[in-house]
């Protein structure tokens, strides 16, 4: 059982001593029960930190923002930034470290274990509460307790947890500087890729019809890309209208840029966008679920990424973000890589 005060004390302590320059964590948001990201530089604000089942954001995204900002202003403060990280978030950080996005000493990971539970899936909660909204969510053993206008409602966590949490095998940030909560690795509430397997029980025709419907609905708000820590490319290959231009970029460069897809949110363009993104995340996605949670029209994006991750696991025995020194899926060649495609 995690005592949030321990996390707050750690944050306050490190900020006061100047050991870290910022603590990126979660605080209560102003709209209903959801937590929101907070960037604490003043030790007095450390008491704003919360830990509850609505802390779904993958805060490692802000490590990427921080790095981009420091590069832009050409400064290196030399003092690390601290980040509150769940198991999935810590694995994202490991992938970023594998890709040399920043150095290990640039960050201080305040690990938080999900122990036996995980985060809430807002859609599952909404159907459990008959469309009513909750104003507060709290952990309580194997249950979540929600405060609604009709009073308190206690639900078994398993019924409202996100699929990715149910399938999670390592709900514990193995890479950390300090960690709170017990390691419940292997707790496995559901088999890995369970949601994907259920989906694939349908025939190809049904699945293609399913995806066509969703590709038609995507409005190309780019929230899935913007919220993903791995989508850090300054120039996104499938969005050649928004690309980085500096005063040094030549007219030639701009003229020669290829428009791989158009701005129109039509089926063909959306397929290209979503599928390319899934391919580019193969072996890098740690199933933080943010893309699917952020999507304003409920496209089940996670299924696309999950499919790639299952391929990675089955073909190469590969798990993204397992360890800092480990190989990356597409950038490493190992002698014992299976090569069925050339046999």
């Amino acid at each position: 059982m995690i005592n949030i005060q321990d996390i707050r004390d750690t944050a306050r302590d490190m900020l006061t001593k100047g050991e870290v320059r910022t603590v990126i964590g979660y605080r209560r948001g102003s709209r209903g029960m959801l937590a929101e990201p907070v960037f604490i530089t003043d030790p007095a604000q450390a008491d704003d930190l919360v830990w509850d089942p609505t802390c779904f954001h993958n805060l490692s995204l802000y490590l990427v923002h921080d790095r981009k900002f420091l590069t832009h202003i050409r400064q290196n403060p030399g003092v690390p930034v601290a980040i509150v990280a769940k198991g999935c978030d810590a694995r994202s950080i490991v992938v970023l470290l594998q890709e040399h996005y920043f150095k290990r000493e640039d960050i201080y990971i305040i690990g938080v274990s999900c122990e036996g539970t995980g985060v809430v899936d807002e859609r599952k909660l909404s159907s459990q509460l008959n469309g009513f909204q909750a104003s507060n969510a709290a952990f309580d053993g194997d249950d979540f307790v929600f405060t609604t206008a009709e009073g308190e409602k206690r639900l078994p966590a398993r019924e409202v947890m996100a699929d990715r949490c149910l399938e999670c095998r390592v709900p514990f940030p193995k890479e950390h500087n300090v960690v709170f909560g017990e390691d419940k690795t292997g707790r496995q509430l559901e088999a890995p890729f369970a949601a994907l397997t259920r989906f694939e029980a349908q025939g190809t025709a049904e699945r293609w019809s399913f995806w066509q419907n969703h590709f038609d609905r995507c409005i190309r708000c780019f929230a899935c890309r913007s919220v993903c820590p791995m989508c850090y490319c300054e120039e996104c290959v499938v969005d050649s209208i928004t690309f980085p231009v500096t005063t040094e970029t030549t007219a030639e460069d701009k003229a020669n840029r290829i428009r791989w897809i158009e701005r129109s949110a039509t089926r063909s363009e959306n397929i290209t966008y979503l599928m390319t993104r899934a391919m580019h995340l193969a072996g890098r996605c740690t199933d933080c679920g943010e893309c699917e949670r952020a999507c304003p029209v409920n496209v089940p994006i996670r299924l696309l990424n999950n499919k790639m991750e299952r391929e990675a696991r089955e073909q190469f025995g590969f798990e993204p973000g397992a360890s800092i020194g480990g190989p990356s899926l597409v950038a490493s060649f190992l002698d014992n890589d299976p090569g069925q495609f050339i046999r």
Binding site: G32, E36, F222, A223, V227, K254, E262, A294, N298
Partner: protein, 344 residues
């Protein structure tokens, strides 16, 4: 024209609207969207996930096609929207108020032929909000109300087993006339009840902007405040707030090419968004709005200061979608309140 319609007869009324393609909110894939009606209509939705602005201002609008063979002048063929009347049911008052605001943008200075071709063929059949559909509603703070009829052709009020149906425009009257005998005259008790329902609706608590009248001046005074970067620190620069908003209208124009020789393609308008990092990027590489703070400031200023200065009303209608939709909790009510409380 005020009438009573038994809830059981709403499908009969919709079937009588043979001149119209009727749309109503349906729950699909976990969200409420306007769909063409096929089957029973039950107006029991909170609010739709996206606003109805897409009926007059769709995500994609083809302006014209071009064809150019080398050595000859190009041939341009204008492509105006098809003549098709749409009736949208279940429109909440906040979305209704969004309609005249969009109208102002697309008819001010010069008229937009594509918007107008669609707009004149859309009828908005509103549904008053007996209680706030969203925990993030704040229509009363921006000059609106749960029973506003602004922008609507008809207002319906849910009275339990029946609707109180009021025509606001001539189009609304014609649509009600199409329903003929399905509609009954309201009794005195009905009039009393609808007044009470409306009074209760307006009295229902919702989120509040504390000083909406002071917002334009305070926003101006706080233009250079470091508050903006602070409030925008979590912003990821996606398009959710603007794409879901009933009054956001920014767009892009691009040529989509199908073949190069001969050059064949179309000039297309698509939704765009001031929160995208390169929205205002000059070709030279200079970006007047660098940073999420400047872009958040632009959106809030546009809604609560610039539009007000140009048209005498706030552009925001208090639907709360940007608040509910933001993946990282950026909350326009909190933002405006923080700025108005801050000495500029």
């Amino acid at each position: 024209m005020e009438k009573i319609l038994d809830k059981k007869q709403i499908d009969d009324w919709i079937n009588a609207l043979t001149d119209w393609e009727v749309h109503a909110p349906m729950l699909q894939d976990g969200i409420w969207t306007y769909q063409p009606v096929s089957g029973a209509v039950r107006l029991d939705h909170p609010n739709t996930n996206q606003s109805p602005k897409g009926f007059a201002f769709p995500q994609r609008e083809i302006f014209f096609s071009f064809e150019q063979i080398k050595g000859e002048p190009p041939r341009l063929t204008q492509i105006l929207p098809k003549e098709q009347r749409h009736a949208v049911f279940g429109v909440r008052p906040c979305d209704g108020r969004g309609v005249p605001r969009m109208d102002k943008v697309f008819t001010d200075h010069v008229e937009d032929p594509y918007y107008n071709a669609r707009r004149k063929n859309v009828a908005y059949v509103g549904l008053a909000c007996n209680k706030p559909p969203s925990p993030n509603c704040f229509c009363l703070s921006v000059g609106g109300s749960p029973v506003s009829t602004d922008g609507l052709d008809i207002q319906m009020t849910d009275m339990g087993d029946r609707y109180f149906v009021k025509a606001i425009t001539e189009t609304g009257k014609a649509m009600m006339a199409a329903g003929g005998k399905l509609f009954a005259e309201p009794a005195a008790a009905d009039q009393k009840q609808v007044k009470q329902v409306h009074a209760d609706a307006v009295a229902h608590p919702q989120r509040k902007i504390n000083d909406p009248d002071g917002a334009p001046a305070k926003l101006k005074a706080n233009f250079d405040s470091p508050l903006w970067q602070e409030m925008a620190q979590a912003c990821i620069g996606c398009g959710i707030c603007t794409f879901l908003c009933p009054t956001c209208h920014c767009f892009d124009i691009n040529d989509e090419v199908q073949s190069k020789a001969p050059m064949k393609g179309q000039r297309v308008r698509t939704w765009d968004n001031c929160q995208f990092p390169d929205f205002t990027m000059h070709s030279s590489g200079h970006n007047p709005r660098e940073g999420t703070g400047a872009r958040l400031r632009q959106r809030v200023n546009h809604k609560f200061q610039y539009f007000h200065e140009n048209f005498g009303m706030h552009q925001c209608t208090g639907c709360g979608r940007c608040i509910s939709g933001c993946p990282v909790g950026i909350d326009i009510v909190t933002v405006v309140n923080k700025v108005t409380e801050h000495a500029g």
